[in-house]
């Protein structure tokens, strides 16, 4: 085929390319398209591929070729994309993906929690034995308040309203959880640092308040939100450690594939944790500093919320709903 003939042929295709180009733009903008447009786009894919192959040969790097490359890439993106998430996807996520991801992290959760508890004990021991070390874990103002026989959480609502407190707290906790996950890229060492530091701080502060007979009051403040908050931080740490392990010991996959898989799987767990951390922040803003809540009610809220957390992460929430639905159908 000589150049002029090829060109004439390509020019005859111009209308079809323009049509496909505008179809691709519509598809890329999202929203629904008519079945005709969808079918026309599917049919256009191999046709554009053929035209592009010819254009690459006849006018390599030419303007028409570049535009065809763009249309072809757009068609590829539009046709090969993942299905749009629907309500069913969310149910699948809660019933299958999330529990599977948590299950694959069991070992890491166990070890990270053990590290956190060990650091709590170490922090307690360090401050109980050498009280001056509290300066490493707590701000000067906080130490002064405890020396005066009060907790820094007393009268918190006089300083800041619950709503603002809740937003500040859950934002901070979400950032800590995400940092714990992301720092896993340093072969897990960054995550181990974050978890250890949090454990040492918690243990140290409890030991310090215990020296002033305020530990029970601190527990009273923490118990409504703390179970979920600390569990979520430990789980985020477990995700970070699993990311670090994937980089250090990728197994049969390539390092890059193992890293992506660990982040993808762990990211699902972090997403669930973020939702629960928002709830924990709201509890910490509205319930924890409010003196009208008794210890029993705080414990009930804390343990109840933690129970929900465990039920959702284990996938039992959906399984319970499904078995209830089956029972109703049998009746």
């Amino acid at each position: 085929m000589d150049e002029a003939t090829t060109r004439r042929w390509l020019e005859r295709r111009l209308e079809m390319w323009q049509q496909t180009g505008s179809d691709v733009q519509r598809l890329e903008q999202g929203g629904s398209v008519s079945p005709e447009v969808a079918l026309r786009t599917i049919r256009a894919y191999p046709e554009i591929a053929r035209d592009l192959a010819l254009a690459r040969r006849v006018v390599p790097g030419g303007r028409a070729t570049r535009r065809l490359e763009a249309i072809y890439a757009g068609l590829h993106r539009a046709l090969m994309r993942d299905p749009v998430a629907s309500r069913l996807h969310i149910v699948d996520f809660l019933a299958r993906d999330l529990p599977a991801a948590v299950d694959s992290l069991k070992r890491h959760i166990l070890w990270t929690s053990a590290l956190f508890v060990a650091c709590c004990v170490a922090g307690w021991w360090a401050v109980a034995s050498y009280p001056e070390l509290i300066g490493l874990f707590a701000a000067e103002e906080m130490i002064e308040t405890v020396h005066a026989g009060e907790l820094w959480t007393d009268g918190l609502l006089n300083v800041m309203p619950s709503s603002l407190l809740a937003v500040g707290i859950f934002t901070n906790n979400i950032v800590v959880a995400m940092t714990a996950m992301c720092l896993g890229v340093f072969y897990g060492l960054g995550t181990i640092y974050v978890i250890s530091l949090n454990g040492l701080m918690l243990g140290g502060i409890f030991a310090f308040t215990a020296r002033h007979d305020l530990a029970w009051r601190l527990f009273d403040f923490v118990c409504a939100h703390g179970f979920v908050e600390l569990s979520a931080i430990c789980i985020a740490g477990a995700v970070g450690v699993s990311v670090g392990e994937a980089l250090a010991r990728p197994g049969n996959s390539t390092r890059s594939a193992a890293f992506q898989s660990a982040v993808r799987s762990g990211g699902q767990v972090i997403l669930a944790c973020v939702v629960f951390l928002i709830g924990a922040g709201i509890i910490e803003g509205y319930v924890s500093p409010n003196p009208n809540f008794s210890t029993a009610s705080r414990l009930a809220i804390g343990l109840g919320y933690w129970g929900c957390f465990v039920v959702v992460l284990s996938g039992r929430a959906i399984r319970l709903r499904r078995s209830a639905a089956r029972t109703q159908i049998r009746r």
């Binding site: 060109r7 020019e11 180009g21 303007r63 763009a70 890439a73 890229v185 997403l271």
Partner: protein, 237 residues
């Protein structure tokens, strides 16, 4: 460093995408940074004006601090910090800055990343931005084959250049022009006309001279820009 992302397709014709290097990335990021900063500042000013009837950068007194935080500070912070994840998801791998820089985020198979991948990509900015000014991210884009930052490695994404398929045309050139001067020269001539206003006069003259073949431009130094352009347009007709 690889220049192109080549994705096999069942049609037998590979999808070829140009990979954006550190330059293209930084260009898009700088535009986005200015946009999100300007939007956040604009919200801060507008929000504070709407809330208090005057522009304040902080709440004037404690009684108004909660309302000021919810109307001004929190939305402005949200605009600044959630700009990338929200817009990348809404615009399917692009942001206004990426659009202006002509780049977009795709998966390694050339498709649009899902919301999960885009969220992961953005969460890892926490590491990429360490210890400041994106030093980690910029270093990894310089060292990796596909110019990836850690967020891209985690999400399985890559930044590529894209050309808008909107203005597709073979131009006003006829098949006679192709037959006379060849496809390649026809394409170059049309490219030159497209870029005419963006080129320096000397560069225009040189390129026009090469296309016109007989060194018309150099042979007649008195030829004006307009005349050269007219000669090339005539060649394409």
């Amino acid at each position: 460093m690889e220049d192109r992302l080549i994705v096999p397709s069942f049609t037998g014709v590979d999808v070829e995408l140009d990979i954006a290097g550190p330059g293209g990335r930084s260009y898009a990021f700088v535009i986005d940074w200015h946009l999100r900063a300007l939007l956040a500042i604009a919200w801060w000013i507008a929000g504070s004006f709407l809330y208090q009837g005057a522009i304040h950068f902080l709440a004037p007194d404690d009684s108004q601090s909660t309302g000021f935080a919810f109307v001004v500070i929190i939305p402005a912070s949200a605009i600044y910090f959630l700009y990338h994840p929200v817009l990348e998801i809404a615009m399917r791998g692009r942001t206004p800055g990426k659009r202006m820089a002509g780049v977009r985020v795709v998966k390694h198979d050339g498709t649009t990343p899902d919301a999960g991948a885009l969220l992961i990509r953005n969460v890892f900015r926490l590491v990429d931005s360490l210890p400041g000014f994106y030093v980690v991210g910029l270093t990894t884009t310089l060292l990796t084959e596909r110019a990836l930052r850690i967020g891209d490695m985690a999400a399985g994404t890559v930044l590529v250049y894209e050309e808008s398929p909107g203005a597709l045309t073979l131009g006003d050139s006829s098949t006679n022009a192709s037959a006379a001067i060849g496809n390649e020269k026809t394409e170059i001539a049309r490219d030159l006309l497209d870029r005419w206003d963006h080129l320096a006069p000397t560069a225009r003259k040189q390129l026009a001279g090469r296309i016109l073949g007989s060194d018309a431009a150099t042979a007649s130094p008195s030829s004006t820009d307009r005349e050269l352009r007219a000669q090339i347009e005539a060649l394409l007709k």
